[in-house]
Amino acid sequence: MIEPVKMNLKLPKLIIAITALGIIVVSCKSSPKKESETSQSAADTLSTLVKVENAIFPIPSPWQVVNLIQKNNIPFKESCINSSTNFQRYTTSFKQAINLGIYGTDLSYLNIYDKTQESLQYLGVIKKLSEQLRITESFDEKIFERIEKNIENKDSLIKIISETYANSDLYLKRNERYDISALIVAGCWVESLYIMTQVAQEHNNREIINRIGEQKHPLDNLVELLTPFYYKSTEFANLLDSLIDLAYEFDGIIYSYSYREPLVDEANKVITIRSQSRVVMSEYHLKIISKKIEQIRSSLTE
């Protein structure tokens, strides 16, 4: 059932909302197109395919990546994370948003290795960046209190961090700040790939190398997510150009896939997907991807 409109905004907020909306209407600012319709493919369904830009280009969770590193008993590498003191350099909303994503992945990485003190420090930086970006509705005091209370509990903390990032994503999308939302996602992804490549080069772990190779489709999604903002600023254009350049390197990786019928467990509502995929990544590709992601990440954190 559709909820009735809840007019529970306080007057100043309503005035701000109306003023902001007025500016948008009057200035007729061109915003990214939200829906584009393509005609149906032959012999498909009778429905029209709706491609919802800025909304549905999923990027796998960065928390899963850091989990994989720890599961492989690889020691924590401090040089992989962005220094918490760097945040003072980030004065544009572009840099603040992308580094909010980068610090989010770093916080998960620290937390998984029980780096409590450092986690608290990074939490402070995340709080400051979220304030600068005016997304304090999601990163509110209660969230930080919850995080501080659960700082020793890895599982709870990952849950709270991912929820907080999901809430801020929803908040930004509801407020049509798709560019900021996309940048946070991009920051999370860039940092997780950067950490993986740093670890893979040192430890030559097959599982992590494969996970790097598996980033081809997430990278394609990330490029699509950022594309509507290409002309927004030079920073956006540079980031997108460098990610497209990186995507070309992924084209050189060999992928194989074979379908197998899934197994259904109806009672527990679980389906086991038994299809098998394989990634064959050469040393050359690992090196070039590592080099390129390092350059991208360095341009974002400097």
């Binding site: 059932m1 559709i2 909820e3 409109v5 809840k6 905004l9 909302a17 109306i18 909306l21 007025g22 209407v25 829906e35 319709e37 009778l46 429905s47 029209t48 395919l49 709706v50 491609k51 919802v52 909304a55 549905i56 280009f57 999923p58 990027i59 796998p60 969770s61 960065p62 928390w63 899963q64 989010g104 990952i158 849950k159 991912s162 929820e163 990032y165 999901a166 994503d169 929803l170 999308k173 509801r174 494969n210 996970r211 598996e214 489709h217 997430p218 999604n221 896939y257 379908y259 899934p262 109806e266 527990n268 509502k269 679980v270 389906i271 997907i273 038994r274 299809s275 098998q276 995929s277």
Partner: protein, 136 residues
């Protein structure tokens, strides 16, 4: 004056969308227990009759993911279908009484195409939301 009326109408419409999305999130979250970790993104879109949503996502090996789907579109059942990139059908909730959630366990990393639509061409347009998370 006319401009103020337009702005007010737009503001109220926008607030209505906010509350609809908030409500949907609450509904979706019922089937998304605390041992599932979100990927940090929220997927929602407006859906009209004769439209469907399609997107690609990668699921990693040795993980179980939950998809929880919900809609406020009336007079229709929400269908979510998962294919591999070769368009082999992996799962559809249509075969399981339109269950609003399902767990997908992956033995190998697979990139999937997820399609979402509402069965019944006469349904009232509304929002569709999906929560995707891995099991901790």
């Amino acid at each position: 004056m006319q401009r103020i009326v337009i702005i007010l109408t737009l503001t109220l419409t926008s607030l209505s969308s906010f509350s609809q999305i908030e409500q949907l999130k609450k509904t979706c979250a019922i089937n998304f227990p605390s041992n599932y970790i979100s990927d940090g993104q929220e997927y929602f879109a407006a859906l009209k009759p004769d439209q469907r949503i399609e997107f690609r996502t990668t699921f990693y090996a040795d993980n179980t993911y939950r998809i929880s789907a919900c809609t406020n579109a009336k007079k229709g059942k929400l269908v979510f279908t998962v294919y591999d990139t070769e368009k082999n059908l992996l799962f559809t909730n249509e075969s399981f009484n339109y269950s609003p959630y399902w767990d997908l366990r992956f033995t190998s990393t697979v990139t999937c195409i997820i399609q979402v639509d509402v069965k019944n061409p006469q349904f009232t347009p509304g929002y569709v939301m999906l929560l995707i998370g891995y099991k901790q």
